[in-house]
């Protein structure tokens, strides 16, 4: 196989990792509440700026490792704020939630523009992330390897949380049948809130990864969030396995398409691919079986 193909395969894997980190939070809260937070892209942006600020305070090799929890907590707090002040009150109206949270997204973007400037800020990756590995004749930038490793860690952690802890049990219960869960005494509102914070936090963490790849700008989240929405559409309702699979498929598709066509055509092809995919599997990659009529 030629080097270009292998190279794009690797780029696809790192792109898929970013799509996954951006989409996990969306998919989790969509599964629980059937709402999409259009300001989710701004959680990425927030994470990026928090990483930049952390590195201002703690320069040096390990600053980036400190930036990860800072960005996670900061974005989780912002997500929790949006959920409890706005989304909670709109939860019966999914389309209105889209629009209202898009208003939030506009305000956050403009806020970032006024605070940090429109041009964006540069996060200097530590030295241990600026090198390259060479394997099979392909150069693998360490930053991208780091991103793939972090995404795998987050995914593993999330799987443990959902499958092995009490919180995970409650989340799965609400995901399966909200009314029954509520009737058996689970505080569904609290589960919603927890998952929303968690998902926003993961997006904030994804923002740190974006900061390693390029400048953090007020609309840095926008270029990743729309593919992340497509990941959710293709993944299947609230399924982590489905979201992961569809993030990998779309990430690889976008990167491999760029061997043959330029970025803008690849973007159009990505959309066409998703539309063709739902012709075959409208329920998504992984369908959660249910007897509910209007799931």
């Amino acid at each position: 196989m030629d080097a270009l193909f292998l190279n794009q395969l690797f780029n696809g894997a790192s792109l898929a990792s970013l799509y996954l980190l951006a989409a996990l939070g969306l998919a989790l809260s969509f599964g629980l509440m059937r709402v999409i937070n259009m300001a989710h892209g701004e959680m990425l942006m927030l994470g990026g700026y928090l990483a930049w600020m952390t590195l201002l305070v703690v320069p040096g090799a390990l600053g980036i490792l400190l930036a990860i929890p800072v960005a996670f907590l900061g974005a989780a707090a912002m997500g929790g704020f949006i959920q409890s002040t706005l989304i909670r009150h709109l939860s019966a109206r999914p389309l209105d939630t889209l629009l209202a949270t898009w208003g939030v997204s506009l305000i956050l973007q403009q806020g970032a523009r006024d605070l940090f400037g429109a041009i964006g800020v540069e996060v200097r990756a530590p030295e241990w992330l600026t090198g390259n590995f060479v394997a099979f004749g392909v150069t693998l930038p360490s930053a991208r390897l780091f991103i793939i490793a972090i995404a795998a860690l987050v995914l593993g952690g999330l799987a443990l949380l959902l499958l092995k802890t009490r919180i995970g049990l409650l989340v799965r219960a609400v995901n399966q049948d909200r009314m029954m869960a509520s009737a058996s005494g689970i505080d569904v509102k609290r589960v919603d809130f927890t998952i929303f914070c968690l998902g926003s936090g993961v997006a904030g963490l994804a923002g740190v990864m974006l900061a390693l790849l390029g400048p953090v700008t007020p609309n840095v989240g926008q270029s990743y969030i729309i593919p992340a929405f497509l990941v959710v559409v293709m993944g299947g309702l609230g399924s982590i396995v489905g979201t992961t699979a569809s993030a990998i498929i779309l990430g690889l598709f976008a990167a491999l398409a760029q061997i043959f066509v330029d970025v803008s055509v690849a973007q159009m092809l990505l959309l066409v691919f998703v539309i063709l995919f739902i012709q075959v599997r409208p329920q998504g990659v992984v369908a959660v079986k249910t007897r509910q009529l209007d799931a």
């Binding site: 999409i36 389309l95 629009l99 403009q110 006024d114 729309i226 497509l230 973007q267 959309l271 539309i275």
Partner: protein, 342 residues
């Protein structure tokens, strides 16, 4: 909140009064203001389509800019070719180093083809897109997200094909339409009246459509799609038809807007402008045709006033308006006029 329904004695004459004002506007307004009003009316035509699909069909489209753009670019291609001396290429193509006209530009030299394209291209594109998604029973939030991806892909594609689309700057510098000079006296008023007539025509036609059995079924599918199926109807063709009509209105609005504004560019049709189109209707009232027109006029007037003085403020204001209207006034201004907020 003021109960405007008490103004009911005025109600039967109000539409006619507004129409008379509309017809008389060219005699009262400066040519700059008239042009602005005509642009906003062209946007009102698009807004009417959103009432049909979003208010009555429950289909949220965050991609109306695409259809607006298809209509706008169709007429722009024609005007670019019409002003061209024979055998020459549009200036931006020469700058990009192109030697010949792309094959899909050529038919737009014909006025008849252009008029047909303005109506048919958005309609067919809308129908095909909606059918591809709806016939597999994908809808709601998923549909809205897919339309947003569509508007992103469309705008990016236009920007990247600089040599045949004019790229980020779009197409501009038009001089005549169907042999009539755009700056010659009377043309502005004429185009304004044409826009007003199409707006009124679309309004009347949609009013009829929404009151018909089609409208009833559309609302039924919005409120309980599966129940409509159990009653023996297939809701998909109704939703596809509604979406195609909205796309057609968006295309016509886009063509008229391009005529009045003298420019069509990706900045007018991408992700953000497409959602702004929904704001007009959200503020005016998503269930009300009259509300949508008022919303389109008011929001754009406000935008014009605020963004020229404080460009940064406009985005905050629009974000806040969006949150406020959607959470507290889901029926928009039309709801206030009817005396009910929710």
């Amino acid at each position: 909140m003021p109960d405007l329904s008490r103004l009911s004695p005025l109600k039967p004459v109000l539409p006619w009064l507004l129409l008379a004002l509309g017809i008389a506007a060219p005699f009262a307004l400066s040519s700059y203001d008239l042009n602005l009003l005509a642009r906003f009316m062209a946007m009102g035509i698009l807004a009417l389509g959103l009432v049909l699909i979003w208010g009555h069909g429950g289909i949220l489209s965050l991609g109306q800019g695409v259809f607006f753009g298809l209509g706008g670019y169709a007429i722009a291609l024609h005007m670019k070719l019409a002003d061209l001396p024979a055998g020459e290429l549009p200036d931006f193509m020469v700058w990009s180093g192109r030697e010949s006209l792309p094959f899909w530009w050529t038919p737009f030299a014909s006025p008849a083809f252009t008029l047909a394209a303005i109506i048919l291209v958005p309609t067919l594109a809308g129908a095909l897109f909606a059918w591809a998604v709806f016939h597999r029973r994908v809808g709601g939030t998923y549909f809205a997200l897919i339309t947003q991806a569509l508007s992103l892909a469309f705008a990016t594609l236009i920007i990247s094909r600089q040599d045949v689309t004019g790229g980020f700057n779009g197409l501009t510098d038009f001089y005549s339409i169907f042999g009539v000079g755009l700056t010659s006296p009377g043309t502005g008023s004429m185009l304004y009246w044409i826009t007003l007539a199409i707006l009124c025509g679309a309004f009347v036609a949609l009013r009829w459509l929404l009151a018909s059995r089609f409208g009833i079924l559309l609302r039924a599918a919005r409120d309980g799609e599966n129940r409509v199926r159990f009653l023996g109807y297939n809701p998909t063709p109704f939703k596809v038809a509604a979406f195609a009509i909205a796309a057609m209105l968006a295309g016509i609005g886009g063509a008229l807007f391009t005529l009045h504004a003298g420019v069509v560019s990706p900045a007018l049709i991408g992700v953000v402008p497409s959602i702004e189109m929904v704001v007009w209707v959200a503020i005016g009232g998503r269930y009300s045709l009259a509300g949508a027109i008022v919303g389109a006029l008011l929001v754009n007037l406000a935008r014009d006033a605020v963004s020229s003085a404080f460009p940064e403020l406009w985005l905050y204001l629009m974000g806040a308006l969006f949150i406020f209207v959607v959470t507290l006034l889901p029926r928009g201004l039309a709801g206030i006029a009817k005396g009910k907020a929710a």
